[in-house]
Subunit: 339 residues, 2 copies
């Protein structure tokens, strides 16, 4: 891996794309060498006295704090529930670390906390520990919420980006890019008549049903920062295989597509907060798809491609008109920036 | 509990004193009702498939990032190791959530990460999961590090602030107020000739040895923000008993006392990052003291008081000249502010 560009942190180091990968490999993974960390999954699976525990952390920063379909509060609950779910864990307990700017409105804080309560009830997880810090006015823009979480992983389960196998079908659980577009529309206050809402949602029940019904799952990942493109590239890199996706099969809400066309965004690179990618062996793919489609957050699920044997671990897209295009890791700042 | 003063977040809401307690009870504990959270210990103890797991989180903000005796990096490792240790857990795994300001020096980040690596090796814990976010320049002052941690709690162990009993001796593991004073001296660049260093240190080995040697421990707490005063008040409130401490018995480094006298600070209210308070039944107190004194971070440990039956759960101090003084929860901003 290359050294990070230049010697200072740039915004694109936080974008989930190439610059972030460089930073991760040249700093963080060099500082900490535990093999579980180096698997780079959405959550770590640790064994404690015969008990397999999934463990994850995420800091949430979003501007504006409230957007169509949600706010930083439910985002912080659902995001961590989803990271745990991506290892096949049943999420159980969460921590909440608040860092608040001096002068922040307490009524607003209460409103955000209530959305967190509601989201944690819905996902059936419990906040059991927390921490609150206050920074002087001007030293922080409003509010950061860190949520960490622990969950229980079944003994025989092994779900990891590195487990994807050639032939696996790639299921996407629904339409993409809605979170990023909803936040952008709210922040920039564009005068566009659209009802696009963030897709923020917990995915643990969906994953649990797949496991309960006996579907073999090789890999799970939720395409948040960096969008579907970053997520597929991470699976390709971790597994060492290539990926072929089919443009016509990828569900995109027509309003999202119009806004992307208008502003020149590619929905593949835009954040989601309630979608997953599952790599499923071909014999189980149709069954898994039908289970996901019956879930409240999976109605628009589709098989969008497959894992392929190649000499390089690239993500290729067969375009709607039959051409081939490389879907690379995002480069540069995330567009639109949503935090 | 009263409503928080006014309707906006003030700096003293982050001080660990009365304002924080009000905010905690009027907002956070109202939003989340799980009984484990409401125990308000330094870490939550959750049972997962017969396995008792301690779980904690803390966000670290300190200005300056480097100070005599340490930096934000080892602080973030030791602090979370200590929070786990305060429930009697053996700390095992940590998460690291970085939130970095755009423009932050990557070499400095690497230096901080190396101190985290060294501190985690020393404490025998492993970083297994993490998250990195970047905020635009000006939206955050430098760097916040959140560390969460999980550890294993022995089946028969029940250590909680609420378990303190009348007659328990209160052991303090060493001299107080060094972290707060070291940070203050560095930040304000006072021209005072002193070698006071932060006491940042992991306390897990000390706690483990107490447990191994069969000492009964009712309560453990580390006096960080809000100092010894906040910590003792929290034990008094949780247990429903009073506390009597003896001023002459509380170890304070003479340089710390001089600086406190000069600036009008009370060492009881100043932060520590490598000290603990243990409530130990009288029959085990001398044994526990002698175990702690043999530890590298416990040489100056002392019995500083005891839990008493009273009609109110107040902390009283018998002063050096034989008077009595109420040691109240800290009120207002922490002085000196160290974050």
């Amino acid at each position: 891996m290359n050294q990070p560009n230049g010697s200072i942190i740039k915004l694109d180091h936080g974008s989930g794309g190439k610059a972030f990968q460089n930073l991760l490999h040249s700093t963080i993974l060099k500082a900490f060498d535990h093999p579980i960390l180096h698997e780079c999954n959405d959550s770590a699976v640790c064994t404690i006295e015969n008990c397999r525990i999934a463990f994850t952390t995420d800091s949430y920063i979003v501007d504006p704090l409230f957007f169509p379909g949600g706010c930083i509060g439910d985002l912080a609950i659902n995001g961590t529930v989803n990271d745990l779910s991506m290892s096949g864990a049943i999420p159980l307990y969460l921590s909440v670390g608040l860092v608040i700017e001096e002068g922040f409105d307490i009524q607003l804080l209460n409103t955000i906390l209530r959305t967190m309560n509601k989201a944690s009830s819905y996902a059936d997880v419990h906040v059991v520990t927390g921490d609150t810090k206050v920074m002087p006015k001007g030293a922080l823009d409003q509010l950061i919420i860190n949520t960490s979480g622990i969950g229980l992983v079944q003994k025989n389960l092994s779900i990891s980006c590195g487990n994807a196998q050639p032939g696996d079908k790639i299921i996407l659980s629904g339409t993409i890019a809605e979170h990023g577009i909803a936040v952008l529309m709210k922040r920039e206050q564009f005068q566009i008549d659209t009802n696009i809402q963030s897709d923020t949602a917990p995915l643990n029940h969906m994953v649990h049903h797949l496991i309960q019904e006996g579907c073999i799952i090789h890999s799970l990942r939720d395409p948040t920062r960096g969008g579907l493109a970053a997520c597929l590239n991470e699976i390709a890199i971790a597994s060492g295989y290539g990926i072929d996706i089919w443009e016509h099969a990828i569900p995109v809400h027509p309003d999202v597509q119009s806004i992307c066309d208008l502003f020149g965004y590619d929905p593949l690179y835009i954040a989601n907060e309630g979608k997953l990618i599952a790599c499923i062996p071909p014999q189980d793919a149709d069954k898994a798809l039908s289970i996901i489609q019956k879930e409240p957050f999976g109605k628009n699920a589709a098989i969008i491609g497959e894992i392929i044997e190649t000499n390089n671990n690239m993500v290729l897209m067969t375009t709607a008109i039959g051409g081939k295009r490389i879907v690379d890791m995002p480069v540069g700042e995330q567009l639109p920036r949503i935090c």
